[in-house]
Amino acid sequence: MNSELAVQCRGVEKAFGNGGGKVLALRGVDLDVRYGEMTLLVGPSGCGKTTLLSVIAGLLNSTAGEVTVLGARIEQLPGRQQILFRRKNLGFVFQQYNLLPALTAAENGAVPLLAAGISRRKAIGEAKRLLSTLGMGDRVDALPKQLSGGEQQRVALTRALIHQPRLLVCDEPTAALDADTGQSVMELLAAEAVRPERAVIVVTHDNRIFGFADTMARMDDGRVISVESEPNAGSEHVFMPHHGVIQEVRV
């Protein structure tokens, strides 16, 4: 396993609003994410998982602290460079897929390459190839509305991976899927996305997928309260909500 850090957060804070209406979503988060690992950010709703993911992805700037992503202080990059950094180095998987409804599966998958200025023919060809790898070879010309939730998430996965990003961020990738589909999507994610040169961060509160984690960071109230490496080594995990904090029960 590559032990180099893909993401390093130190004392990261994020506040929304001003004065009396100020809400502190992140309260001094420390987190390391390693290459070649799938890191799960887990915790109850409202604990700050998605905000932390947004800060790591450069979609939100932190209020305080340091965020180093792939060796760059992302919050210090000028606006346009931050966008170009995201385009080149990051892949995204969203809970609601966010596919463009007018584009076919292959065209949706090709969007990051098109955004990078790759020719349409080449980009779509590459997307078709990757879709085939993900078991969607016969659905490349289907529109999103013609695809099931699982198929749409595979297209989203294609879009997230097609430009070979070094960091993949996934926000609740299985939340809109049934158990079996969610399982298969996570299997694909683990098989196709996790690479020695890439880090994968998955925000979830779906305990059915906890078994895929190489590292699990638990959050509560805007803080990372525990980080566990190899949480599944030699044991089976069941997570149950209790007083708003996820507790681990070893069986």
């Binding site: 966008i83 966010n98 463009l100 809109a176």
Partner: protein, 379 residues
């Protein structure tokens, strides 16, 4: 990404076609109304533009437009002829006798009396007969539209008799004179004949037509004539514009057309803007995803502008096509003859439509630009 913008636009066919229809409707209305307006205004100077022999019109200093004539003295003609730079100057009479056919059909007409010797000032286009026959006694040349007004559903025929203010006249020619502002028949006769038709007054000279000598500029000569004679002298083009300006100032025509044009613009901006805005709002999540993926605001702006330009270009083309068809059809109609789609109107409408789509897209662009890409993480 242009391809993505195109697919996003055409993906929602109902809105796409709705936008095109709106722009096409707006284009048609703008081009149609502005062209008809221009056509009507052009008609105010039709009889001036029909005179191609002379370049300068001399008139009473108080005359503001063609239909407002104050008689000049016969000696004024000689004074004008005496101005340096004048090659020739002839008199022109304008009166409005009532024309009555033997069937009893009648209408007020515009009767222009041409110089007896030269017949200078006659329109060049003759449909039937010849100008030379005006030298016959009691002869007139009538325009085709006027003929059809007085002799509805009857074939064009020479040597028919009619009365002009109770004076017998014979039609010796049918001309293709430009349509006048009011749809009166346009008669041409010799000066001495026209004066008789209308009825003698102390003075009859309405206008003096002047041809400058070779090498003398018309504009320069008008100043010289004004300085020398104290009369008003205008080039043909100036005099036509005088008529346009007069009607613009003293009639409700610009207001009426202005209201229609304003409605077309407002409808275009509001409907196109609203539809485009809704279209963008419905795709807001997708735009957010594109921003998160790393598509710059500038690129997204270009995508939206491209969508707007595509819709604008297609709507403009369809609207212009419809308007061209409209004028191609109405050009055959006597009442609307001479009304054409002017390139200036097409250009002006194009600019207006461009403004409409830019306003429509700006509203949408603003919404996308302020969108936080992090919003895509919210379910």
């Amino acid at each position: 990404m242009n391809f993505v913008a195109w697919k996003m636009l055409t993906g929602d066919r109902a809105k796409y076609l709705g936008l095109i229809f709106t722009i096409a409707f707006c284009t048609f209305l703008l081009e149609n109304q502005t062209s008809i307006f221009a056509g009507i205004m052009k008609r105010t100077g039709s009889q001036i533009s029909d005179v191609t022999d002379a370049e300068i019109w001399v008139m009473d200093p108080k005359t503001e437009y063609f239909d407002q004539t104050k008689r000049l003295k016969d000696t004024d003609l000689n004074r004008v002829r005496g101005v340096e730079g004048v090659q020739w100057a002839v008199k022109l009479f304008k009166g409005n006798p009532v024309a009555r056919t033997l069937d009893g059909k009648f209408d007020v007409s515009i009767c222009l009396g041409l110089d007896d010797a030269t017949l200078a000032g006659a329109p060049r286009k003759m449909i039937l007969g010849s100008w030379e026959r005006l030298r016959e006694p009691d002869s007139v040349v009538i325009d085709k539209a006027g003929y059809q007004l007085l002799y509805p559903d009857q074939p064009l025929q020479l040597d028919r008799n009619l009365e002009l203010n109770d004076h017998q006249a014979t039609i010796v020619g049918i001309s293709d004179a430009s349509a006048p502002f009011a749809s009166y028949p346009v008669m041409h006769a010799r000066y001495s004949q026209a004066v008789n038709f209308v009825g003698r007054e102390r003075t009859q000279l309405s206008f003096i037509l002047v041809k400058p000598q070779a090498g003398v500029k018309a504009l320069e000569l008008t100043k010289r004539i004004e300085d020398t004679t104290g009369l008003r002298a205008r080039t043909s083009e100036q005099f036509q514009w005088d008529c346009v300006v007069y009607y613009l100032k003293h009639t409700g025509i610009p207001v009426n057309f202005g209201i229609t044009i304003a409605i077309a613009l407002i409808v275009g901006i509001v409907v196109a803007g609203q539809t485009f805005y809704i279209f963008t709002i419905e795709n807001l999540k997708q735009f957010g995803a594109l921003k998160a993926i790393g598509v710059t605001n500038w690129r997204i702006t270009r995508m939206i502008v491209l969508q707007a330009v595509i819709v604008g270009a297609m709507g403009f083309s369809i609207g212009s096509g419809l308007c061209t068809a409209f004028f191609a059809i109405t050009l055959q109609n006597m009442a609307t003859r001479g009304m054409v789609l002017l390139w200036q109107n097409v250009l002006g409408t194009g600019v207006a439509i461009f403004v409409v789509i830019i306003i429509a897209s700006l509203i949408s662009i603003r919404r996308v630009l302020v969108l936080e890409p992090a919003a895509v993480f919210r379910a």
